[in-house]
Subunit: 341 residues, 2 copies
DNA sequence: CAATTCAATGGTAGCGCTACCATAAATCTG
DNA sequence: CAGATTTATGGTAGCGCTACCATTGAATTG
């Protein structure tokens, strides 16, 4: 009985390919990983044997032998959030033709869960790690510093990256959105925020800076909740805000879902948008330009963040340490009907 | 020089734990995987040594030695589609406290890409495979039949599962949605469809069955496109449909994004909903009940599909082959203002 | 043309873990 | 209480691959 049949299950191994091609196993290994280091002739024979046998390298054996798995670990706070879905799509698109697999983890906005997943991912010795935000716990930060692989933090900019950083300024986004409404003539501009994760906090800070700069800040204008964001929550928050401050004449929303909830509530209550209430969202999902009235929003480079993060990590893996460690992809205010009065 | 320092990097191995606990490596291995097979005393010592050293098992070595990786392979046609995001969330939630990792693949609605990813996943010897839909290519089906692990197809029901199947009937969903509008009195009920993947095709077939049953079918009422779905596309399709059939008095939309686009376009063009046009969506996203007017939709058990798929696979992994191989989770028509005339 | 470098290939020894089998001690059986 | 069975542990031999070093012959050099 062949020893190989004992376990696993008789799949062709590198030794089978080597035998068939009349070379040694290590040459097959090289032909697969660094083709240019093997003569043309052998390369051809080996390719042929691979095709004939339907050989596929075992990633587990490879990872064990080389102490390095061809895996990108990706940690996002939410899988269902549209924003991260776009980022993840950017990552997948950038990695789909290379040798890398993706290990995706959902931290549920929890620092502890992030640490747990980091431990899990690190035990695989990933090729690179992409993590969301810059507010890792001290323990998580320590893990990342000693990860032994490129680490890219995404979604934000900031002064002190663990390794590399791609994103934009949420503070500035909040500030610009708010300033836009102030410039348009709104005077009682509220802030509506769900979840209130660190990035939402910074948007709120930007809102506050703009409001204070215009002498228009009033804490009662701020309505937030730790509850996860949704369109229906947008409606609730707006009702609450209006009950608190009946003179409210505009809202900067945490994100587009909230903004949409506000828009629907205005329809339902026959509140004129933008006449009576101005609305600005955040992220500029496709639906914002279709909505009636169309909704002003901050367009954020989500897909591009994913692509840039991968590109930077790949550069570093290839040995070309990227010069710039922090990339600010910026954002864009898209004024629309909901603030056009 | 310690041989271990040659590669990898001096992380504690099972041998280190064994030495520290004064037992053999195999006993540590057992204590970790099947604690009840090791005496209480040794278990305690080993746990202590593990904690002390911060030992984490190497999943690659484990997978190589046991010819089985603790990985669930999950194949979905789109990462950004809200529907699949919910399914994936169900899968993650069900798996987050166990030993299993998740390998997520995006087929982009392509059978060829599905085959490629299947090869990739299979080379890891996953513990289970979850794939979307029942329209695999012949080659993909062959791969799945011989996968050597539980396979769960999700999203649909059907007569001939590869192994196990969890979902609901898209045909019936389309039929019920259409019948509802016919019952409500709409006579020129159109179908608006984006992407037109196999599930959309079956919803269309259900629509057609209901329309023909009432003697109301007219091919000109059907407007579809292979373009991916979006809210803005909903607007385009609706305009197109209306131009084709000015007497159109209702639309069954492929999904809620399309329905939302229709709703906005009706607002913009001052078309009364539900008076002039009735709208029914599909999936019942949160926003549908918040919209004004609120939108009738078919509520689909997306999250539950994910959870059930994992539960079935885990049962089979544990050696309890599930009796029922096909689970129909059904759906629910949620009538709302958009069809209430 | 001997000495040196280089390019192409091979041999060996693990990577960290678990399947399989062996062993020893404890428990059960009639 | 001898023999059979069970329970708890250990030893050995890989899993399939690659890092490291060795070898060979050809190309290059002064």
């Amino acid at each position: 009985m062949k020893p190989r049949s004992r376990r696993g299950g008789g799949r062709p191994t590198i030794a089978d390919v080597a035998r068939k091609a009349g070379v040694s196993a290590i040459t097959v290994s090289r032909a697969l990983r660094e083709p240019e280091r093997v003569s043309k002739e052998l390369r051809r024979q080996i390719q042929h044997a691979v095709g004939e046998l339907g050989y596929m390298p075992d990633p587990n054996a490879r990872a064990l032998a080389s102490a390095r798995a061809d895996v990108f670990g990706v940690l996002v706070p939410s899988l269902t959030n549209n924003v991260f879905a776009e980022v993840v799509r950017g990552i997948y698109d950038s990695l789909s033709d290379g040798p890398f697999r993706i290990q995706l983890g959902d931290t549920h906005y929890s620092g502890l869960e992030e640490e747990r997943l980091l431990h899990l991912f690190l035990s695989q010795r990933p090729a690179a790690l992409i993590v969301s935000g810059i507010d890792q716990t001290a323990a998580a930060r320590r893990l990342l510093v000693t990860a032994g692989c490129p680490v890219v933090q995404i979604m934000e900019t900031g002064p002190d990256p663990i390794d590399m950083l791609v994103g934009f300024s949420h503070f500035d986004g909040g500030r610009v959105a708010t300033q836009h409404m102030i410039n348009t003539g709104y005077r009682r501009v509220g802030f509506l925020g769900a979840r209130m994760d660190p990035r939402s906090q910074r948007r709120l800070a930007g809102y506050r800076a703009a409001a204070e700069g215009a002498g228009l800040f009033d804490p009662r204008l701020v309505t937030t909740t730790p509850v996860p964001s949704s369109v229906s929550l947008g409606r609730e928050l707006f009702r609450e805000a209006l009950a608190k401050v009946p003179t409210l004449d505009a809202v900067f929303c945490n994100n587009d879902d909230i903004a949409l909830g506000v828009l629907f509530e205005c329809h339902r209550a026959s509140i004129d948008v933008p006449g009576k209430i101005g609305i600005t969202g955040f992220n500029d999902l496709d639906m914002m330009h279709v909505a009636y009235p169309s909704v002003t929003s901050i367009r954020t480079p989500r897909y591009e963040i994913g692509r840039n993060a991968v590109a930077m990590a790949l550069e570093e893996i290839d040995g070309n340490r990227p010069e710039t460690r922090v990339i600010d992809l910026g954002f864009e205010l898209i004024p629309r009907e909901s603030t056009a009065r």
